[in-house]
């Protein structure tokens, strides 16, 4: 789960990582009030995507007029498809130097990796591409944890003269990373200011699999992604017209690839996961068919944990209200039972992913 900057910073605060004074505003008036309290202030669009600075989602304001104008402007924006609904109003802190500090997981090394660069700021990805030697990477042993000498090495690479202050922040950030089951935590820029080192931005992604041990509440959202997630499934919207429902991420990707190979354009990726129930199958059909662009649906199950008869039951219960043509492929666990049930209802059937993909593209073209 990606956190908004303001949520990430609340967590930073809990871990005693220095952040600027700030107030979250949901409308122009409260943004202006907040800005007044700060003196020079920064208004920052709260969206779950990067690049908001370059898109104009951040403004330094020095007067009430400026605050009002900019709050109005930013709250009317949409950044990479995300409408701006919240503004974080922060006191303005002049950065003397912008550094980068992040922790993520190195899949290959199977451990956390801390990354730091004294050349932080919005161009960090360019630094990574063009001058990788300017980014220090330190791998952390998952059982031994962050060692003092590692924190010291990172701190020295950022600013040898502020080593003690830096070590303190690095230790706290690592503890935050571990205790919150982070996939990523990032401070960019980590700024040196006249009154000390401070986290001017904050990014956190928490492992969805670990949400059971954290009290974080997700933002309310009625996107299809969220509805799928709540039903224990995974959905990613795409811009085609073939609705896809598959069990297993690998088979789902293969199915999308096949649909594409046969000239179709997938409307979505959907993995109903292992062991889907009839209820989940019904929910999946509802979600996928609610996309108005969808012309036909491919339903592709190779059952291991998932039982074909259970899936068939879900499909049959949903059929009456389903307005879109459907082709179903059922193989694996309880395949015979499932196929027999569907055949009774005269549903299009296929025996392989490739056959089903070919079939759904044809159905889509007819529609």
């Amino acid at each position: 789960m990606k956190l908004y900057e303001h949520t990430a910073k609340e967590i930073f605060k809990k871990f005693d990582i220095p952040i600027p004074k700030s107030i979250l505003a949901l409308d122009v008036n409260s943004a202006v009030d907040a800005a007044k309290q700060m003196g020079d202030a920064v208004l920052k669009a709260q969206v779950l995507t990067g690049g908001r600075g370059k898109a104009g989602g951040i403004a330094v304001v020095k007067s009430t007029t400026e605050a009002k104008q900019n709050a109005q402007r930013i709250l009317a924006m949409e950044i990479k498809g995300f409408p701006v609904k919240k503004l974080l109003v922060e006191e303005y802190r002049q950065p003397l130097k912008e550094m980068y500090l992040g922790i993520t997981i190195d899949r290959q090394a199977k451990c956390p990796v801390i990354m730091a660069s004294s050349s932080g700021g919005i161009d960090i990805e360019e630094v990574a591409r063009n001058s990788p030697e300017k980014i220090m990477k330190i791998h952390i042993h998952p059982l031994a944890g962050l060692q003092d000498h590692q924190a010291r090495t990172i701190a020295n690479s950022l600013d040898r003269n502020k080593s003690r202050e830096m070590i303190d922040i690095i230790r706290k950030l690592y503890r935050l990373f571990i205790e919150n089951d982070c996939q990523l935590v990032e401070i960019n820029p980590l700024a040196e200011t006249e009154s000390g080192i401070i986290a001017l931005d904050g990014k956190m992604i928490i492992d969805d699999n670990a949400m059971f041990r954290h009290a974080l509440k997700e933002e309310v959202s009625d996107s299809l992604e969220e509805v799928a997630k709540k039903n224990g499934m995974s959905y990613v919207g795409l811009d085609g017209d073939i609705g896809c429902i598959v069990n297993g991420a690998g088979l789902a990707m293969a199915t999308l690839d096949m649909v594409t190979q046969y000239g179709g354009r997938p409307a979505n990726f959907m993995d109903v996961r292992a062991g889907a129930s009839a209820e989940q199958v019904k929910a999946a059909l509802s979600i996928v068919s609610s996309n108005v662009n969808v012309k036909a649906i491919i339903f592709n199950i190779f059952g291991g944990m998932t039982k074909c008869d259970e899936a068939a039951r879900g499909i049959i219960e949903k059929i009456p209200e389903l307005k879109k043509p459907l082709i179903v492929r059922l193989s694996g666990t309880n395949e015979k039972e499932g196929r027999a049930m569907l055949e009774k209802h005269g549903i299009h059937m296929a025996t392989s992913t490739e056959e089903a993909a070919k079939g759904v593209v044809e159905l889509g073209n007819l529609n």
């Binding site: 199977k110 990805e125 990574a128 996939q183 990523l184 594409t260 694996g332």
Partner: protein
């Protein structure tokens, strides 16, 4: 023959009293797997599918001689189940459970290095050696004994491919799912090495997907192998992954796309099939040569 398991392998099922554990215990027994024990803490003494259930893996091992474990426990308890299996001397741990926190898996993998246990998975379908034994959840009906080693990061896609191979008369020496999670126990290279050393295996089908660099890392090993390897990469039509912030970009620097993987494999002279049926075609071509 085959790899990792054989018809005499004695297996303990961790989480045997759960719905999935019970169902797949029966499936495995039907396949011919020697399930000798189950474990569910607090339920020691009962029987499931006529298999004795113990409170701990240690007890199960001491009483039955099990050397392989398959884990069906829920994700919040799965890391502990792996620790328990390793601490009890289990040699091969197949963890089927999906949804284990990645921080747990980093700790588990780090710990396992200090033991002699091998972990397959998590979030994997296990391993099947046709005609001998099945550990995990692959459907019983799809397998056919033969000479192709199958290794895959995916679950259901593995079934699709194995099923298609079998229907085309191409048997498997073993089918292995290494699991789709970012941090897992056994790598492509580990399994490729075993297939290379297994006399029954004549060629290998390796099924990869977008994300990570597991496929790229195997290239050097594949080039050194004496046996042909047919690869297949899914996710060609996938949208660019959700951004993981700068850190993801810094770490991966654009690697992880299907196009990138296919390019790297082909540049190394490795066959890349374009669909499950193309895998079948490519293997048939090998036989003609």
């Amino acid at each position: 023959m085959g790899i990792l398991i054989n018809k005499d392998t004695l297996v303990v099922v961790q989480g045997i009293t759960g719905k999935e554990g019970m169902f797949h215990t029966k499936q495995m027994i039907d396949f011919g797997t020697k399930i000798v024990a189950g474990v569910t803490p607090g339920k020691g003494g009962v029987k499931v599918q006529n298999v004795p259930v113990f409170d701990s893996v240690r007890e199960a091992v001491e009483r039955t001689g099990a050397r392989v474990s398959v884990i069906f426990v829920p994700p919040q308890f799965a890391a502990d189940a792996i620790f328990e299996a390793a601490d009890s001397g289990i040699e091969l741990i197949a963890c089927i459970t999906e949804g284990i926190p990645v921080h747990d898996m980093m700790r588990v993998c780090s710990y396992l290095k200090t033991t002699s246990s091998r972990l397959l998975g998590p979030n994997c379908p296990g391993i099947t050696v046709p005609g001998a034994s099945k550990i995990g959840i692959m459907p019983n009906s799809i397998h056919l004994a033969g000479n192709i080693g199958v290794v895959s990061r995916s679950g259901t896609l593995t079934y699709e491919i194995v099923d298609m191979l079998s229907k085309n008369g191409i048997g498997q020496s073993a089918s292995v799912g290494i699991g789709g999670d970012p941090v897992n126990g056994t790598s492509f290279i580990d399994i490729l090495q075993m297939f290379e050393e297994d006399p029954q295996t004549h060629a290998v089908a390796m099924v990869g997907e977008i994300g990570g660099t597991a496929e790229e890392e195997s290239i050097d090993f594949i080039k050194k192998m004496s046996k042909p390897v047919i690869t297949y990469i899914v996710g060609v039509s996938a949208p660019p992954g959700k951004t993981m912030g700068h850190a993801g970009a810094i770490i991966s620097m654009g690697v992880g796309t299907a196009a990138g993987k296919i390019k790297a494999l082909e540049e190394a002279g490795i066959i890349v099939a374009r669909s499950p049926s193309d895998i079948v075609q490519q293997i048939k071509k090998l036989d003609q040569n």
